[in-house]
Structures are given as structure tokens and as C-alpha cells.
Symmetry: C2
Subunit: 86 residues, 2 copies
Amino acid sequence: MVHNQITLFRIERGLSRKDLAAAVGVNPQTIGFLERGTYNPSVELALKLAAVFGVPVDTLFSLNGFPSLATQIAGNANRQKEFEDD
Amino acid sequence: MVHNQITLFRIERGLSRKDLAAAVGVNPQTIGFLERGTYNPSVELALKLAAVFGVPVDTLFSLNGFPSLATQIAGNANRQKEFEDD
DNA sequence: CCATATTATTGTGTTTACGCAACACCCTGA
DNA sequence: TCAGGGTGTTGCGTAAACACAATAATATGG
């Protein structure tokens, strides 16, 4: 089972599923299935989605699921803090 | 068309196709097809392969192909140099 | 209230990812 | 010289990724 964060990134950019579908060249329903976790896209589609959002594939897709947004944001803040503390 | 660097990483680790196939849970022929570029794997398989090699998916798969090894290695050396020059 | 956009769902169809089996070709090592 | 491992290829089967169309539900803005 593959987890993804497509909905989060899409909403943040203010894109509809139709918009995102057009941006990567698939049908809007395909984005719908994807966001609901109903399936496991091709790596080509994953690469295109990652390119649209300007992030690595691993930021969008994961085998083990993603921590909560709070954890992710706070985690990055901590890493940034550690970096500043250097 | 999706390009990949699976053969390079596999050879470097001294793995046969059978070994790699066993590590990610697919048939050896699937690895063969993949390396020959005959197809476009699922993002799940891509994530598993990336996990085996300990690299991001984007290091293994690309929409636009990869530069030559020399370019990649030299490029990283340059970036490292820039980093040291900071 | 009505019009429009977004989304969920369902159904049908094609293509392709992947499993499995078989065979042929090269190497290398006993 | 022969056996065995790695590889390329082909063919058949199944499941799933996607396309496309239609409908309904919700929400939002006029």
C-alpha cells in the first residue's frame, strides 16, 4: 500500500483536481482515485506530480505513510533549529 | 518514457537480478524488463528499489534521462567544492 | 432561489505491469 | 568438457492503471 500527500499539496496551491489532472496529463478521475488511495500510480505519473509541486517523489509518496502535518512542520522547524545551532 | 539507473546501482552493490528481485519482492524478469527500459513500474516498486539502495526515488528514476556518470560524479564534486568554498 | 464548480461514484473498455514457465546464449569454474 | 549461474526473450495469463462518459451530491456565488 502506497500513501501520498497529493491532496495537501494540491489544496495549498489552490488547484482543483481538474487543474492538477490537466497539469500532469491525466483524467480528473485518476487524481480522485489517487487521492482516495484507491491505487498505486506509475512512477511516471509520480514524477510528473512531483515536478508540478517542485518536490522530490519521496515527499509525495511513501510506503509507510506520513506523520501528521504538525509533526512534519515541527520536525522541520527542529532541524532548522539544529542547523542554526551549528 | 521513464529512464532509470537501476543497473548501475545493482552492479555496484554486486547484486544479480535475482537478488534484487528477491529484495523487492518481484520476479527476476520484472527487473530485466525494468533495466531494459521496456516499462514504467509502479511507484510502489520504485519506492522499494529506492529503499534497497538507500537513495531517493528521483536518484533512480527520471523523466528526462540522466547525464553520464562522469558528469554526475564531477557535478557532485563541484557542488561539494562550492560547499567548501562557502 | 438558481447557476456553476467541485467532487464522488459507477460502469465499460484498453493497455500494461507483473507472475510464471520455457528455452537459448554466454561465462566461469570444477 | 560439462555443469551452473546470469541474462535475454517469448508467450500466456491476471490484475490493475488509466481513459471516457454519465449521474448525483454538495457547496458557493450570483
